[in-house]
Amino acid sequence: MQKLLPYILNGISAGGQYALISIGYTLVYGILRLINFAHGDVFMVAGLILVYSSATLPFYFSIPLVLVCTAVLGFVIERAAYKPLRSAPRMSLMISAIGVSYLIQNLAFYLTGGLPQPVTRPIPWVSGMVTVLGASTKRVTLVTPVLTLALVLVLLWLTRRTRIGIGMRAASRDFETAQLMGVKINSVISFTFVVGSFLAAVGSLLYFTNYPNVAITSGAMPGLKAFVAAVFGGIGSIPGAVVGAFLIGLSEEIIKGLGYSTFSDAFTFALLIVILCVKPTGLFGESAADKV
């Protein structure tokens, strides 16, 4: 147990970071029925902005900048690449998402010269070391779950108590009816992307505290895993995504702790395939029957 403790701590931390990304997937899928393949790359871009901005700016300036820029990026992607395809078949939307992912990675390659950008100035305080139950770890490990849960509570309040949040829930239940009932669907969708990207940016700030550099492919794996988490929890459900993310983060790290690190990624995907085949609606998802 004492041997596994550091892995469990890491698992909780990774889980929190996955949770922040997976909310973006789950919200977008809930409304547009789109797997936003570009979301992992948005997450990576947030990391790059942090690296570049913190090199010249003080943190109290660069961190808000990262959050704002990433949210704007999410907004722009939706307006440029998804909105024109609103009446197109879902396959076109998914292809567009893959195209955006490809474009972001290639632009990032061009701008960074293809070299992983070292995180030279990690965010102070959260990257400091602490000792928990005899295991030494970065403070981010403890901050992540707390911050994640706090943000999720804020988000849940938002979807229950604000007009736009209620619009989001209505749109994810029935897109067309919501539109007929006067929900401003375009603002709701944009807002969804802004919120999703903002949370991914927070996740990115925490995630890259643990890693030495940001590469252009850094977003792909965490992105896919966060998506798996969203499916695991029942896509469309915010609490589901969070629970799924923590479970996946934990099991991955425990597998590493048991000495099978080669299979930690494969495990996640195997889990995905099993879940999809056994209970496609996930832990908290609702089933929707297709009409003949």
Binding site: Y102, T217, L224
Partner: protein, 371 residues
């Protein structure tokens, strides 16, 4: 009705033969490592892989993203079966020469003679890779193909990642060389042989799509409920399309290994699947001609014509600050996005070369009738 059909077929065959003849001439005139030869070879491989993806995503309407995984299986099968026995010690240096104690081209050389035997052995290895990929597709097809479109995409994407992990697994090292690369296996000489080979494979795919099975696939794409009501067994036919597509992806993967000279699991990432999917989309979902033509354009652009964008000078414009490493890909992916958003039917839509020729014929006929 019947005669113009035949004329288009003859015309198409003539065009294809002409291209093949041109490749033979190029092979004789240019050195082996000339960029044009390389472009034709790599373009041919991409064409096969793109067409195999189109069979599934375009003709059957199953959005699968497992292409890289099946290509990986084919590539490794080819490499493992073809490394000469004498060189295995060097390649599998961390695994005492590995567990494979034979090489297909060498085995076949013993039967058919040196030159013919090597080629036969290589072809057999390609087919073995295809069969392995097809078999794996058969196994995972049953659970995965029941999933809705977007879940199918993510499940197959996950499957490809699992394959990659297993191939790199150290315990399989004696077979796969773990995460180290495989090399020293033989390559087919010349661009013409590549064209001939993929011509045969794509020809088989065309025959399948134009048969009664191809119609059943298209029926499933158009309307699953109606297809089922017309007696088409969905599970059986989806699986069939999945296995056929994966077989050719496996063969294509083997040819990619052949072309590259070395193969490493690391390079078969989801980005590779995305790249091929985007080629299919630009060529036109449901058009084999489109996939083939786009593959050659794409590879020619990337590997040859747009090189200047990365190295400071393009079309005589010198701008080292802008035209630096990665600009080429940035430009290409921007073009791709423009096509995806504004030219959704791609270059060809769902038409084929024969359709274009037919239209021209018809127009000519109409003109002569009016004139």
């Amino acid at each position: 009705m019947k005669r113009p059909m035949r004329r288009e077929a003859v015309l198409t065959a003539a065009i294809l033969l002409l291209i093949l003849a041109a490749a033979v001439v190029l092979d004789a005139a240019l050195p082996r490592y000339h960029i044009v030869i390389k472009v034709i070879k790599k373009g041919a491989v991409y064409a096969l892989v793109a067409v195999s993806m189109n069979l599934l995503n375009g003709f059957t309407g199953l959005f699968s993203l497992g292409q890289a995984g099946f290509m990986l299986l084919g590539a490794y099968s080819y490499a493992i079966l073809c490394i000469p026995v004498a060189k295995r010690m060097g390649v599998y240096q961390y695994f005492q020469g590995g567990i494979m104690r034979f090489s297909l081209p060498e085995l076949c050389s013993g039967v058919f003679g040196e030159a013919a035997g090597t080629v036969v052995g290589m072809l057999l290895a390609l087919l073995a890779g295809g069969l392995l990929a097809g078999f794996v597709a058969y196994l995972i097809g049953l659970p995965v193909l029941r999933l809705r479109s977007d879940y199918l995409a993510i499940a197959t994407l996950g499957f490809a990642e699992i394959v990659r992990t297993f191939i790199q697994w150290n315990a399989l090292g004696p077979l796969t060389n773990g995460s180290n690369l495989l090399k020293s296996y033989p390559d087919l000489p010349g661009a013409a042989s590549y064209l001939l080979l993929i011509g045969v494979f794509i020809g088989v795919i065309v025959l399948i799509t134009s048969s009664t099975y191809g119609r059943a696939f298209k029926a499933i794409r158009d309307d699953e409920v109606a297809a089922e009501a017309m007696g088409i067994n969905l599970a059986h036919h989806k699986r069939l399309a999945f296995v056929i597509s994966s077989f050719f992806a496996g063969v294509g993967g083997g040819m990619l290994a052949m072309y590259m000279g070395t193969v490493q699991a690391l390079s078969f990432k989801s980005t590779m699947t995305y790249e091929i999917l985007l080629i299919v989309v630009i060529g036109g979902i449901g058009s084999i001609t489109g996939s083939v033509a786009t593959s050659f354009f794409y590879i020619a652009g990337l590997e040859w014509l747009l090189r200047g964008l990365d190295s400071g000078k393009f079309l005589g414009i010198k701008a080292p600050g802008v035209f630096k490493n990665g600009f080429r890909m940035a430009v290409v992916s921007t073009i791709i996005m423009v096509v995806v958003l504004f030219f959704r039917r791609g270059i060809m839509g769902d038409r084929e070369l024969t359709d274009l020729l037919r239209r021209k014929n018809r127009r000519r006929k109409e003109e002569s009738e009016h004139g």
